[in-house]
Subunit: 192 residues, 2 copies
Amino acid sequence: MNDDAMDLRARNSQATREAISHAALRLAIEQGPHGLALVRVHDIATAAGVSPRTYNNYFSSRAEAICAFQADQSRRVGQALRSRPADEPLDQAVIAAVIELYTNPEPDRAGLSMIMSTPELEGEALKAFSMAEGPLAEAIATRTGTERDLFPAVMAAAIAGAIRVAGRRWLEPGNPEPFAAILRHALSCVFP
Amino acid sequence: MNDDAMDLRARNSQATREAISHAALRLAIEQGPHGLALVRVHDIATAAGVSPRTYNNYFSSRAEAICAFQADQSRRVGQALRSRPADEPLDQAVIAAVIELYTNPEPDRAGLSMIMSTPELEGEALKAFSMAEGPLAEAIATRTGTERDLFPAVMAAAIAGAIRVAGRRWLEPGNPEPFAAILRHALSCVFP
DNA sequence: CCTGATATTGCGTGCCACGCACTATATGCG
DNA sequence: CGCATATAGTGCGTGGCACGCAATATCAGG
């Protein structure tokens, strides 16, 4: 995961990928939720310093490029849980892992708002959040030992859903609460 | 919701909508998850007995047409919960409502499998399942009185996730359990 | 039967995803 | 250090899709 772990080719590739997704999200934010159709592939590619064809080698749709950061973030949830001490109770471990991952740094309000409140991005945004479920379910299974049960998968889906709902609440206008507090509150609904 | 509740125009419209989505799902199943790209708009429209342009008046993408039935099903979850007796505990009411809705009749294995195991439909499928969340959260809020809390939304997301996970498990090859049993098991993970 | 409203359709347009072939650049080995 | 090979970037062409617009067909109700 660290850059040092890859050779030059892989690091260049990663940098290009991030340049494209970053440009895509920035342009989308500039146009706002109602002008997404105006964000053309050509603009994204140009802003990222690559050809339109190269953009399409990394992402197969504008929505995927725009939501790539959120998807990457989700993919890290499982690993974040695994890095918690093994003797910590599941609920505390999950809450600590999620809060650590999602508040360091605090998410970008504009980006999250763009992703979560643009109808044309809804499917891709849900996909991005649900990317957490697979690895998270595995991490839960190894932690609890209930490997062949429905429990890990259901719990992972519930946690991913709670994170999503917390994000929605955090974005509501005039909400002074820090994201961490809302996250903790939402997750506490899952672990009664 | 009953056909008698609409005038002739609305019923025709509904019939057309169902003809299109039904044709779309049928053709998608015929081609299988790996041949989705071969299901062309023209074929869907022809199979439904309408022009391609009319297809596009009802759905704005093939994925939306294919997943329409699942989306409609999800939209009914809130109402199903509301129709449970008010004095029933939340967990029992939810479980009864969901099982009633999702096993009467038993879902179509081929259709559900197509929707849930085709990567290109993943976003739309997640959207379809998440359609339950809004109405379901409202139904939970009115039932529990916790209107302004995160609880209803988080619980709704968890329930929708549990239904989705149950569907995935039910589709696993060589699984003899009836859907109702898996659903009950999955939902019991949400209500500890 | 007539009239206004709604549904259906045909046509044209801009854009997008992607296959293919070619070039440029990095990597590893003799 | 050069050379062979693998991998990234690019240009071009193609098929298809979503949708705006305007014309037409169909229907409800007086």
